[in-house]
């Protein structure tokens, strides 16, 4: 029985069993579409062969932007536009008054790095208010783990037998919605 465009949902009740199942599925060169877990499973990304995140690199660049914004802003306001004598602080050049600007430089660096990185994370993982939840089985938010395998081109029965062998407690053949 060939399955056309179908996916198989294999449910597990233990993260260790799930990890082994992922490794075995990888060994058999099955295509794992997605794994749904109620909590982060340490090492799952490595077992699935996911590429490491580049979020930290973006955060560093956002931080640089924040630092630049702070320096440009205060140089313009305090030094170039209206260099007043405020309490005897030297406003002749940026560097002479820099210690007073450091707290703002620091905070804006952190602010930009943090917020823009979070927003990047939301965009990249497609998360926003009123977004329709993509959850194939409600139990995966509580105590079940679900591995979704691309079943196209495979014998469904054979796949199901293999997945039961890896410790799956439940196997569902689902028509691919996409």
């Amino acid at each position: 029985m060939s399955t056309g465009s179908h996916v198989i949902h294999a449910l597990y009740t233990d993260d260790d069993v799930l990890m082994n199942a992922v490794k075995e599925a990888k060994k058999k060169h099955l295509h794992i579409n997605e794994v749904y877990t109620p909590f982060p499973v340490h090492g799952l990304d490595k077992a699935m062969g996911l590429a490491p995140t580049k979020l930290a690199i973006t955060a560093f660049m956002y931080g640089c932007v924040g630092l630049t914004v702070a320096i440009t802003m205060m140089n313009f306001i305090m030094i170039e536009d209206w260099p007043q004598n405020i309490g005897g602080k030297p406003s002749f050049s940026y560097i002479e008054n820099m210690p007073a600007f450091v707290p703002i430089m620091f905070e804006l660096t952190v602010f930009f790095a943090a917020h823009l990185m979070v927003i990047t994370f939301y965009m990249r993982s497609r998360l926003w208010p009123f977004k329709k939840a993509e959850n194939p089985d409600v139990r995966t938010t509580d105590d079940h783990f679900l591995m979704e395998i691309d079943a196209s081109g495979h014998d469904a029965q054979e796949l199901a037998d293999f997945l039961v062998g890896t410790g799956a407690t439940e196997i569902n053949l689902v028509a691919n919605e996409e």
């Binding site: 560093f60 005897g88 210690p99 007073a100 450091v102």
Partner: protein, 456 residues
């Protein structure tokens, strides 16, 4: 079991010998009379072929700078110095130079051992699971504590017996209203800053630190032979008690041994500032020694994750140091109160390059180099960052001590390099000899299995 190789022993002794020779060479070239100072200054003026050829303007310029510089010795009244007074003033600075060089180098290596002991105690008190594999490295580094603290105590005793003039508040007649050297401000502090109390405190601290090290090592030895965890629990209790003792004594030690070099100046977070500097040096030294031992085939169980953790500590404590440095600097710069700000004015005017270069070495360099998670696992990156951090904190100490003792007459010459090399040789010898005394892996530390499988 680590064995101290002949080569390393030889290297350590060569360091000490070369250091001593460099020191001696430069020591005999320093001026010892006011005539020599005058001759040297004249040569200096000629060399720069400057506009200030005439004696009067020359001395005038120096006199003013010294009077508002406040850093050193005799006249702080703001009166103009005569050429004779000026020469005597400069001579005093030159006579302090070799002593300060020894003092800085001695304190630098002593503080590495002391902060390493504190870090070691933190590992026990926090029951860290990653570190038991490097505990023996820390025990080895703290072996320098005893010789280092004895050397420090001898130096303090020599200063107290007026062999040198590093601590201005120890000067003869400074608390006597009838004496020409009378200093009201110092007299007001003499309830705290007096020689018997000063030496008594130093002795008390040194005994306390060394006692903890003695018992910590004893407990960890006993734990290796034990059948239960009784000795480990004792280590835990001793570490917790030591940490309380340490943070008080370290703070007071930093006022006594460093801040009192500038007896007119005070800063409340100075103890923390010195602590952050010594902590980052100690952790860097632990990382360097660990990498050296690992590259020689010892410490086989230590993996990249352990190095990664140490590098994280180096990174974080570098930033902590910068935070405290800046907090101290910015508050004083911002309020600009004359009695406090002289400290930084003399440093920025007379020590501009070391003062700002130190920020690059202690902050910018480790910040950019050790930020990347992958770089923290690359040993030669950690070594490179570590060497720069250690040099940077030597310069930091140089900036704390030198302006107070030699003022404008500083230079970085053979005395400084010589004493640094000498103590480096001694440090290497003591530390690696101590490392060869015991197996590098604790036998039955309850957390050793976790440490062996530590993975980040």
């Amino acid at each position: 079991m680590y064995t101290l190789s002949k080569n390393l022993k030889l290297t350590a002794f060569i360091f000490m010998a070369v250091g001593a020779i460099l020191f001696a060479v430069d020591y005999y070239n320093l001026p010892s009379t006011t005539e020599e100072v005058a001759a040297m200054e004249a040569a200096h003026g000629d060399g720069h072929g400057g506009g200030h050829e005439t004696e009067a303007t020359h001395d005038n310029g120096h006199g003013e700078a010294a009077a508002h510089g406040e850093t050193s010795s005799h006249s702080e009244g703001g009166h103009e110095m005569t050429p004779e007074e000026h020469n005597e003033h400069v001579l005093g600075q030159y006579q302090n130079k070799p002593w300060s060089a020894i003092y800085i180098a001695a304190f630098f290596f002593f503080m590495i051992a002391l902060a390493c002991l504190a870090f070691y105690a933190i590992q026990y008190a926090s029951q860290a699971g990653w570190s038991p594999l490097v505990l023996r490295v820390m025990e080895g580094i703290t072996a320098y504590l005893l010789p280092g603290s004895i050397i420090m105590f001898i130096l303090l005793c020599l200063s107290s017996s007026h062999v040198n003039h590093m601590f201005h508040w120890m000067a003869e007649g400074i608390t006597d209203p009838d004496n020409a050297h009378y200093d009201k401000l110092i007299d007001g502090k003499s309830g705290y800053l007096n020689i018997p109390f000063f030496l008594g405190r130093a002795a008390f601290f040194i005994i306390g630190w060394n006692l903890y090290r003695y018992f910590a090592l004893k407990f960890s030895k006993n734990q290796d032979e034990a059948t239960d965890n009784r000795w480990h629990k004792k280590s835990f209790k001793a570490a917790a008690m030591f940490l309380v003792f340490f943070i008080y004594t370290e703070s007071i030690m930093s006022w006594d041994w460093i801040m009192s070099l500038d007896p007119h100046w005070f800063s409340t977070l100075f103890g923390w500032y010195v602590f952050a500097g010594m902590m980052v040096c100690a952790i860097t030294t632990i990382a360097l020694v660990t990498i050296v031992l690992k590259s020689q085939g010892y410490l086989k169980q230590v993996n990249d994750s352990h190095i990664h953790d140490l590098a994280k500590f180096m990174f974080a404590f570098s930033i902590f140091w910068t935070y405290l440095w800046f907090s101290q600097f910015m508050l004083i710069w911002y309020s600009n109160i004359p009695e406090e700000v002289t400290y930084f004015i003399t440093r920025i005017e007379d020590y501009n390059l070391p003062f700002f270069a130190m920020l690059g070495m202690n902050f910018v360099f480790p910040l950019l180099l050790l930020m990347n998670s992958d770089f923290k696992r690359v040993n030669w990156f950690v070594v490179m960052a570590g060497i720069v951090i250690l040099l940077g904190h030597y310069v930091d100490l140089f900036n704390m001590v030198m302006p107070a003792t030699v003022g404008k007459s500083w230079s970085f010459g053979f005395v400084e390099i010589g004493s640094l090399l000498f103590f480096l040789g001694l440090f290497i010898f003591v530390v690696f000899r101590s490392l060869s005394k015991r197996p590098l892996e604790p036998k039955r530390n309850p957390l050793i299995e976790e440490s062996k499988h530590f993975h980040y």
